[in-house]
């Protein structure tokens, strides 16, 4: 009984293939292959048609910025030793913090301890035409005082590293939500067919005991997984499994890929299964990535003066190299480039360790801005610098190597390019650098502003998940910070 049954089943499959061929004649694989590439080639089982570039209707209005480079100073840089100068902290040095500031406030490691104010541990001067306050730690930053907008009134809601990063990236500490890079990749897509729209780079150099970074930070959460950040490594394999196995030369790898594609085509002669075509295209891109990604990640071909500008040595995995890579990725159409530099968590020995962090990041941050400017890309590239929170005006630790604890009620970040007004400071903390009192900018406001510069109205940018129209900016109030737009 099954034999005849089986013949019927096979006939059925053949019939379908023939009929489909007739109805689809003329549609070549070439067009499919081109439109179904990394980041966009991941057709979910049930999606009928994939958006070619982001989602329809976006951008909502003319965009000022086409892409974002986010320089995450992980660990929580002290605003009080970088951009937020407080004379009053000098006056109040070693005195108890007035309770009016700290009562009922969340405290991390200083829980249950006597809270004393501590003066800035480095000198401050004013720089640039508008006299922006900056500490002596970052001399290269002084040179770009007129290019950046320092936001001194940032506020976040999470006081421990892991949830604070999650909050900075996803606007909530609840796990399973998309990171801003994934949101933007989903909304706008990439400007490239050969690279992911959201790339993450982490750098070597810092203290020896840096805070961990979780891949949750570049997760796509409930968005389709193809929008997640892809980590590129500036040392070792640039992308996992991007090199052919040992003993397999390029031409054999190519022949193998072609054979896989041909075998798949033979099983799907008339293109009845769109998933198979997607797969054939995915193998195509994978093979191309095997050469294009290592080429992209190899900065040794950059002119000497550029390497010197950044302070980058090819293959060193440094923040400097990653800043240069960020520019290369931006040039190739990647939408969101997220750099992490760990080591800014200075509970003790702040003066020594923050200088190290500054040393690793100062020049390269400047170089990135200068380079983008020179390439004519700064105007449509939004660069954001900052950590997951700031640090307390209160001292942590005793003796000669004091530090500062985590602080969320007021801290500094800077933004540049992408339609942000250069050379200004925005907002302020109180006289002790504790609370954000003038023009507070919540993380959600930063997200709303970033989306706005990309031509997206944060209120109308949502994704249906578990019955809710989820947004990067969530349900609480979020506002575009008009005061920093040029």
């Amino acid at each position: 009984m099954y034999q005849s049954h089986d013949r019927a089943a096979q006939d059925f499959v053949r019939t379908i293939q023939r009929r489909t061929f007739l109805s689809q004649a003329g549609v070549g694989l070439g067009s499919l292959a081109l439109s179904t590439l990394l980041g966009r080639g991941a057709t979910p089982l049930r999606a009928a048609v994939e958006p070619a570039r982001g989602i329809p209707g976006l951008p909502h209005f003319a965009a000022k910025a086409k892409r974002v480079i986010f320089l995450c100073m992980a660990g929580g840089p002290s605003h009080l030793e970088t951009f937020d100068f407080k004379q009053k902290l000098i006056d109040l040095h070693d005195q108890p913090m007035p309770e009016s500031f700290t009562k009922g406030q969340p405290i991390a490691q200083l829980q249950g301890q006597v809270l004393k104010a501590h003066r800035p541990m480095v000198g401050f001067k004013q720089h640039g035409q508008n006299g922006q306050w900056m500490s002596d730690l970052m001399p290269w930053h002084h040179k770009m005082a007129d290019d950046i907008c320092i936001v001194k009134s940032m506020v976040t809601e999470q006081i421990n590293h892991d949830p604070a990063h999650t909050f900075m990236n996803a606007g909530t500490a609840i796990s399973g939500r998309p990171s801003m890079g994934a949101w933007i990749n989903y909304g706008l897509g990439a400007e490239t067919d050969n690279l992911p729209g959201f790339v993450v780079l982490t750098s070597i150099g810092g203290r020896n005991n840096d805070q961990p970074i979780a891949s949750r930070q570049w997760s796509s959460g409930f968005l389709p997984s193809r929008f997640q950040g892809v980590e590129f490594n500036s040392t070792g394999e640039p992308v996992h499994y991007v090199r052919s196995p040992a003993g397999v030369p390029q031409q054999l790898q190519q022949a193998t890929v072609s054979a896989i594609q041909e075998l798949d085509r033979l099983r799907n002669p008339m293109g009845t299964e769109p998933e198979v075509d997607t797969r054939i295209a995915a193998f195509e891109t994978a093979f191309r990535m095997q050469t294009s990604v290592p080429d992209l990640m190899d900065i040794s071909g950059e002119p000497e003066h550029v390497l010197k500008l950044y302070g980058a040595t090819p293959g060193d995995g440094s923040f400097a190299s990653n800043c240069l890579l960020a520019r290369r990725l931006a040039q190739r159409g990647v939408r969101f480039i997220h750099l992490y530099h760990r080591g800014w968590d200075h509970h003790g020995n702040l003066a020594r360790d923050i200088e190290r962090c500054a040393h690793y990041t100062d020049q390269a941050s400047y170089a990135l801005i200068a380079d983008l400017k020179q390439q004519g890309m700064l105007e449509d590239t939004l660069v954001i610098w900052g950590g997951e929170f700031g640090r307390t005006p209160m001292v942590q630790g005793k003796g000669e190597q004091p530090g500062r604890d985590h602080h969320i009620k007021g801290f500094s970040m800077w933004m540049a390019g992408g339609g942000i007004q250069p050379g200004i400071s925005y907002g302020n903390t109180d006289e002790l650098g504790y609370h954000s009192v003038e023009n507070p900018v919540h993380v959600r406001d930063m997200h709303a502003t970033m989306l706005h510069q990309l031509g997206i109205d944060h209120k109308r940018f949502s994704y249906r998940y578990q019955g809710l129209d989820m947004k990067l900016t969530g349900v609480e109030e979020a506002k575009v910070v008009r005061g920093i737009l040029s």
Partner: protein
Amino acid sequence: MQLIALPARFVSTSGMGKSIIYSGLLVTILLGLNSVSAAAPAKVDFNRDIRPILSNRCFACHGPDSASREADLRLDREEDARRVLTAAKPEGTEPKSGDKHSGEIELLRRVLSKDPDERMPPPELSKDLTAAEIDLLRHWIDEGAVWSLPWSYVPPVKVAAPEVKDPAWSKNTIDRFIAARLEKEGLKPSPAADKVTLIRRLSIDLTGLPPKPAEVDAFVADNSDDAYEKLVDRLLASPHYGERIAMYWLDLVRYADTVGYHGDQEHRIFPYRDYVINALNRNLPFDQFTKEQLAGDLLPDPTLEQKLATGYNRVLQTTHEGGLQEKEYLAIYGADRVRNLSAVWMGGTLGCAQCHDHKFDPYTAKDFYSIQAFFADIDEAQHLKRGADRSPTLRAPELELPTEEQSKNIAQITQRYEDLVAQAEAEKKAAEKAAADAQPPKKDQPDAVAVTADGSDTTKSEAATPATPAPSESVGADGAPLIGQPATEAATPAVASPENGVAKLPFKLSKEERLQRAVKGGKGKYKGKTGEQIQQTRTELLAALESMDRCMITIAIAPRTIRILPRGDWMNDSGEVVEPAIPAFLGKLETGGKRPTRLDLANWLTDSKNGAGGLTAHVMANRFWYLMMGSGLSSSLDDFGGQGQPPVHPELLDALAIEFVGSGWDIKHLLKTIVMSETYRQSSAATPELRQRDPNNQLYARQSRFRYPAETVRDTTLAISGLLNLDVGGASAKPYQPAGYYRHLNFPVREYQMHKDDRQWRRGVYVHWQRQYLHPMLKAFDAPSREECTAERPKSNTPLAALVLLNDPTFVEAARVFAARILKNGGSSAQERLDFAFRQAVSREATPEERKLLSKLLKDSKTYYHEHAEASKELLSIGLTPVAKIANPARLAAWTVVARAILSKDETLTRE
């Protein structure tokens, strides 16, 4: 299939005001088969047609959330909504079916208004109704504005399977529901798939493993009438069935081997995973499965398995970050538990009510915290204080699970250690005596083991003697023995009291910790040869203790106070204190005045008569259907609330839920019922018409075709090659992984140590699940991080996944081992060998075109490797499998290339 009748109580609707009036109508609607096609103007179904409109357009401001409610109007409850549905009628009159009065109804008037101040939803919200939606509203009102509870809260109603014109096709009740609907749509079911496809499909669906060629041959040759059923029974009885279903269950309960937050340290939980696999293999009824996981510790005389089951309550994400605020994390964990419980068992999004009442479903914030209160007796405080900067973390209460050999070994080392210490003491005393004879007397030091609250030792000399280990008498945090005999007082090291200046511990240490602390005291204490021996034995003992398997479990302690946190703010203590309670709109637990427990909750979830069992059965039946058919009867596998997608086949889902409950929550029975249907056996090849008519396969006029889940991709590749290790259970396996992948982790800094024995080739379900750095292979094939409940994985098809198939050493090694097998067992000609390889991989012989194609690849590869001996050596050395000593490495390398192509083929990794 026998649909078992349930007592009447099961099918009655729960009383909710006027909805009772309409329950008769509701049953009528469920009986009617509504068409999705636009052609026939069908009767409007409130849940299918109207609720989504109200929910999407109106509930945000006129819904359950009291905080955001406008104009004191809510449209989610019938009694309130009637205000705007009857406005034009005299007070108190009900709209009657057939009344053509839609134009006078306030709801419609406001929707249609041209005045921007009157129009609803307000134009600035950009939530305008579409013309089709307005039309539906109008029809609905004209038909009498029939209301009903959200479909998922209506208990399953038994409906007789419909009559069909062509009864021959239907094998069981499922088929009649499917066929009746297809007839209505003018569609025909697809023909049955061929036998080879069927055995491949069944093997993957029920065991996650491809069939062996001999199994395929036997099934194809078996012409008996019950050949198919015998196959189904064999697969359901396989020990690998439990592994396959566990893959799904572990996604739901977010099982992982690491804590997830901050340092993402390992925690000890794999015995819980094995419990799940065993329970599924034993076909533990789902209601019991539920009770054991939520409350195994509260069952009378819990068995070892039931204790391990409570690992469920401990497998959530936790943190060991320094400077954490205990209260904050207690709130985070509490919320996590509520989200998972409601997602897994209720298909609910109760998590949305953490800060405010639910926007779309009748869950209140109070419900959220009341559910949380069930879990208030889980001891969280211990790990928040300890286990930092250590991997695996210390996570008492843990169950110690030494093997017999380990127990013996530990006892033996301990004995040796004690003897040595005694000897050292004797030597010391002798030396002291000798010295004392020559010196004036000195005051003695007090001897005691003292442990400070922060865990640092202030151990004195005698403390160096470890307690006699009795690992099977492991002591829990509350001091109660976990298994076996109670630990004796003598086995407990002295804990210093506040009098001697050391803070009293808030909890007792686990035996493991006590031993370790006691033994640590011996470090460098004794000099000379005996001292060295003690040092060495000490190291041995610590290693032996560390090597024991352990599992986090639940032991109830006095419950913490749970308050409603206003806006979810953990720093705000002003909220009302809540007791454990089920969501208010679903009723109340009767516990005779006693505080309801986790066990009461579990009982309620699986009580189909007086509890939420109907809902649970709906949720799980839908998911088992999804596993077998590729799409759920309701496509929202994780949202059975008002915003979820109502099932296209509500009567069928009801029938499956009733069948599930009626069979005694028998999972294997439910799966068998589904796979025995003709619906399941259809071909997955889709005609273009069908693809267009029903792209998401909601009508089931065909089977679904999809790429295997991540674990199955791995298992299939290893199985075909012959490398797969089929051991069931045990510690998680660590396959090859890119170097430096954990470099961003810290506390402690970790380097991945891959397994160098046959654990390397274990099944995917056993692969070490690092939440933050999930193995890149699993990640590329859409396995979730398991931070939250995952009811449906995406099925992407990306270049990153292609790179895994091409270049991940697991896959390259499998290819070279497969190639060796092809050469050894595949006959002598290239054609025979290709056919052999195809039979292993795709259960059929190669076609002439395939042979031609691969022969060319083989030839080109041979040419290359003959000229490049070094390259063949490199390729053949990938992976731990010893390199076969063969005369012709170039040939093996060339066949490795061919094997890579066959293993990476779409067909090899696709369920058809």
